[in-house]
């Protein structure tokens, strides 16, 4: 403890610290800092000290409030409603982590309920990242992140085949144009081997050019001296994956409840008994905490205060599809500058320029430590950083949209996946930041293992669900079909003959498919995530009224009740005409 105190005093002499180290080697920091950056820096420093497993950071900046959710009023609201459900497994959070776990656990005879504070799946970090299924070469060897990343990457093939979401196994390449940088490639290669990355190779210039036709097209080919080739890199639309997982879980009996934030965890004699949500009390002996940036708060409710999430905001810009990606793979020019950057010990992840399976270029993300978990604002500075992270200056004119997401980072900057040693039945799946998306199948598998082991120990091993169907049906994507196939589809179901989203060529049929899916969308953005309607260059200028109309009709709701992104965000405030919304029958 003394050594810890000394080290922190040395690094931050002006801060009056109070420290506490518990028997789990969790270090709690308290005191006052001069800035949020300092709060985070101290937390990182402390977490890196020998003898510290993780950090609970209660350092504050005078005059800088850290907004808290009003759990008390949510709690009293929920308690008033009493017990509304009694389940075997309660999963908190419907991001990629929660949906993945729900999908895997649905193979057992378990009553599964997923509660989500927002109105839809994938509304947190899951929808706001680059969609990279990383090979796992960049993670620190020996970390849980590294192991699960590599394992998850491999398992994605099966997930995509069973669940029918697009997985583009494009591969990644880091190439050099100066032989002086061979050591950098070698270093990366050795790290990749240590992590068990499949298929990683060091290749010479000629082979690199063969693998990446973009090098020839952009005229760099003659200068390429060699490259590290990572064939296992893949791309997904991350919200598409989460939706697919959720739908399959729901088909197999899992229930999803939205607009259902958790306000308290109930325990009886050191064991989980249930949770108080805004919509009532849910009894359960097993609670799996996948609450993203709020996971630390949920864990504390369960009596396990052993980590702190400090949100790290990332801004990403999406470019017009007319701006074609320069490369066929995810290819990066490894320059001296890039190598210097990687040694700067920054925790930020993500290559500057990336693209999606639908061929939009993504720029970013940036990285900014912020105190407010709910702050998803963008700024000119963050956007400039995101656009600057590429090989060349990207014109602002190609941008169709930019947005932000918050990484759920703890101070150890590694995953926390464990049965809580403090409260039995409470499983933390926390601090899932990058490579959380890539690791998702492996994370789900690990949690499945934790649950199975615990159940075994209790004398009630998990029973397989004989009716479990791992397959999710393929839904037609009109824009990817040939003219003949499109014609056949329309003949079969005329709804596919009306194009609603002109920019992305999304049909009414696809929107209706989404509205009638097992986890139906309840807002305009929810439809956007499932169908792509509204993701194009006009950003819903043409299709939004049409999508709104379909949503209102399907849900039997007044147009003024339809929201952009869940409770509190109606698009229209009031009807101004007696025949509002009524049109000639179509």
């Amino acid at each position: 403890m003394e050594k810890i105190k000394k080290a922190l005093k040395k690094a931050f002499p002006e801060v009056e610290l109070s420290l506490h180290l518990d028997e789990r080697a969790i270090l709690t920091l308290a005191g006052e800092c001069s800035s949020w950056q300092q709060v985070v820096a101290m937390g990182h420093k402390a977490a890196g000290l020998p003898g510290v497993k993780n950090v609970v950071n209660e350092l504050r900046v005078p005059g800088l409030p850290v907004p808290q959710m009003d759990y008390r009023s949510l709690c009293s609201r929920g308690k008033k409603r009493g017990v509304v459900a009694d389940v075997d497994v309660l999963i908190i959070g419907a991001g990629i982590t929660g949906c993945g776990i729900a999908r895997e656990l649905a193979k057992y005879k378990l009553d599964i309920l997923v509660v989500e504070m927002s109105g839809d799946v994938a509304t947190g970090a899951t929808k706001a990242n680059n969609g990279n299924i990383h090979p796992g070469h960049a993670e620190k060897p020996g970390t849980l992140k590294a192991r699960l990343n590599v394992e998850g990457n491999r398992l994605y093939t099966r997930w995509s085949e069973e669940l029918n979401f697009t997985l583009k196994r494009c591969g990644a390449m880091g190439f050099i144009t100066s032989t002086l940088l061979w050591p950098a490639l070698l270093y990366g290669y050795r790290k990749a081997l240590k992590n068990g990355v499949e298929g990683v190779q060091l290749v010479g210039g000629r082979r690199a050019v063969e693998l990446e036709p973009g090098l020839e097209r952009s005229g760099i080919a003659p200068r390429v001296k060699g490259a590290m080739w990572l064939p296992s890199m893949a791309l997904v639309e991350p919200y598409q994956v989460a939706v697919a997982l959720a739908e399959n879980a729901a088909e197999n009996g899992a229930e999803f409840r939205f607009n259902c934030p958790v306000a308290d965890i109930l325990t009886e004699k050191g064991k989980v008994a249930g949770a108080v949500t805004a919509k009532g009390i849910i009894r359960s002996k097993v609670i799996i905490n996948c609450a993203g940036v709020y996971a630390d708060e949920i864990s504390a409710m369960a009596g396990d205060k052993s980590f702190t999430i400090h949100p790290r905001k990332g801004v990403i810009a999406i470019l017009d599809q007319a701006q074609s990606p320069k490369f066929d793979r995810l290819t990066e020019h490894i320059t001296l500058e890039a190598v210097k950057q990687s040694f700067k010990k920054s925790h930020t992840k993500g290559g500057g320029m990336c693209y999606t399976p639908e061929k939009n270029i993504l720029m970013g993300p940036s990285a900014l430590e912020i105190p407010d978990k709910g702050d998803l604002s963008t700024s000119a500075r963050e956007l400039a950083y995101a656009l600057g992270r590429g090989d060349e200056a990207i014109s602002y004119r190609s941008i169709i949209r930019f947005f932000a997401g918050n990484r759920a980072a703890d101070y150890s900057e590694d995953f926390i996946i464990e049965m809580s040693p403090v409260t039995k039945g409470f499983i933390n799946v926390a601090a899932i930041q990058s490579p959380g998306l890539a690791a998702a199948p492996a994370i789900a598998g690990k949690v499945e293992g934790i649950l199975a082991k615990a159940a075994e120990k209790e004398g009630h091993p998990l029973q397989k669900n004989p009716r479990w169907n791992p397959l999710r049906p393929q839904k037609p994507e009109f824009r990817h079909l040939s003219r003949e196939e499109q014609d056949a589809l329309i003949q079969q179901n005329p709804h596919y003959g009306r194009i609603v989203c002109r920019c992305e060529t999304i049909t009414e049929g696809e929107i209706l498919d989404a509205l009638r899916s097992p986890v139906p969308p309840a807002s305009i953005d929810a439809i956007k995530r499932r169908t792509r309607a509204g993701m194009g260059r006009c950003q819903g200028g043409f299709c939004q009224p049409r999508v709104l109309e379909l949503l209102a009709k399907e849900r039997g709701e007044d147009w003024t009740k339809i929201t952009l992104k869940g409770e509190g965000s109606p698009v229209l405030l009031k009807a101004n005409r007696p025949r509002a919304g009524k049109k000639a029958e179509r």
Binding site: A380, I499, G541, Q544, P545, L572, A575, N576, G581
Partner: protein, 418 residues
């Protein structure tokens, strides 16, 4: 798949497409087909319930939909095929058009000539780099117009409008008349963007303040708009630190420009003019792809629908010539240059024997007293004294531009002595 041959396919049944269809029919084209994605003809005019349409063409003050109805009625009386609720997916350089609808499925149409009349889409808040949150309550002016005028809903109660182009001005008035509060109109340029008559009839008459050289830099509100931040801008249109103000509102209406909707055109290989955002056109309003013509806002953003209809007629006349094989030998390689104080001219190139040609242009900077001139090579072929020229007010003139040299259209200060 339904395959058919058509003489003339017109993509878009708005004012440009309707005028083109009538002209082509009048000149004897047999199979004329309008493909319209909406459930009714009229294009954007259907949501323009304000008046001021048709002053030049009909000497009347009609509302947008009234203007459109004149053409819609005329089309109904002629043997012009119309497919509504039909979206064009692809146009090929060989003039094959793919479109689909619920009733017929996929259509493969082989046309002798095609007229592009798809109009524009609106520039978005993201494209003008408005930062902050992304709540409900940010709707472009056209979208607000649609919700209010067509669907009968108010998308807010207290609005801030960014952009003083005609659409922004019209919506300032419309929202006020419908009972909403319009806090103000903010314009990033030092001069307003819309027609003078709209400044008077939409802002002055309703005492809605106009703030020039000011822009919206951020939106605030996690679920719905709660406020925006505005800031003064310098000559380079960059926000000036320290001039930020927070304005409470629940609706931000970006009215920040129209972008000609040329995705289909580009995919067909049509060459574009970055200055207009539309295709490079010749005196027949034909694009770089033989037999593909363009008219209306997809060619260049007009301000008066009367000119849009006129452009449709020019394109149709050209298409008729083309179908008859009369444009075979013609080469339109005489460039039309934008001279002094002209930001663009349409058409951008001419043939030697182009004859009476109609030109459309805009000035870069306002001019109180000026001379509009057009020279073919060294020869002055057109001159006109103009007053109160401004970028929002499009210039048009018709003159015999036959000749061999390149053309230059220019606007010079003063009454001119030449």
């Amino acid at each position: 798949m339904k395959r058919s041959n058509v003489d003339l396919v017109i993509i878009g049944g708005g004012p440009a497409g309707l005028a083109a269809a009538l002209k082509a029919k009048e000149q004897g084209t047999e199979k004329v087909l309008i493909l319209e994605r909406n459930i009714e003809l009229g294009g954007i005019l259907q949501q323009c319930i304000h008046d001021g349409f048709g002053i030049h063409r009909f000497n009347k003050r009609l509302s947008g939909n009234q203007y459109a109805q004149l053409f819609i009625d005329a089309v109904a009386q002629k043997d012009i095929a119309v497919k509504l609720d039909t979206m064009v997916l692809e146009i090929r350089a060989d003039k094959t058009v793919y479109a689909c609808n619920k009733r017929e499925g996929m259509l493969e149409l082989k046309a002798k000539a095609v007229i592009l009349a798809m109009g524009c889409r609106e520039r978005t808040a993201s494209q003008v780099l408005i930062h902050g949150d992304r709540p409900a309550g940010v709707l472009t002016a056209g979208a607000v117009q649609r919700y209010i005028n067509m669907e009968g809903y108010l998308p807010g109660s207290r609005a801030v409008i960014l952009g003083s182009g005609d659409i922004g001005l019209i919506m300032a008035r419309r929202m006020t008349l419908e009972g909403m509060a319009v806090e103000g109109v903010y314009e990033v340029m030092p001069n307003p963007g819309g027609l003078t008559r709209n400044l008077v009839q939409c802002l002055d008459d309703f005492e809605i303040p106009l703030h020039l050289s000011t822009t919206v830099t951020a939106v605030h509100g996690r679920k719905r708009v709660e406020a925006v931040t505005v800031a003064g801008v310098n000559r380079a249109m960059k926000p000036i630190p320290g001039t930020e103000r927070r304005i409470e509102c629940d609706l931000l209406v970006p009215a920040v420009g129209l972008i000609p909707e040329n995705e289909l055109s580009r995919a067909a290989g049509v060459e574009m003019d970055p200055r207009t955002g539309g295709p490079l056109l010749d005196e027949n309003f034909m694009t770089s792809v033989p037999g593909i013509f363009a008219a209306g806002n997809v060619a260049v953003v007009f301000d008066l629908v009367d000119y849009v209809s006129e452009s449709g007629e020019i394109a149709a006349a050209g298409a008729v010539h083309y179908i008859a094989g009369r444009l075979e030998q013609k080469k339109s390689d005489r460039p039309v240059k934008a001279g002094d104080n002209i930001s663009f001219v349409v058409p951008q190139r001419l043939g030697k024997e182009c004859g009476e040609t109609t030109f459309y242009a805009r000035v870069k900077d306002p001019a109180k007293v000026a001379t509009l001139s057009c020279c073919s090579g060294e020869e002055l072929i057109f001159k006109k004294r103009c007053r109160y020229l401004a970028p929002p007010e499009m210039l048009t003139f018709t003159t015999d531009a036959s000749g061999t040299g390149a053309l230059t259209v220019a606007v010079t200060k003063g009454a001119g002595k030449r």
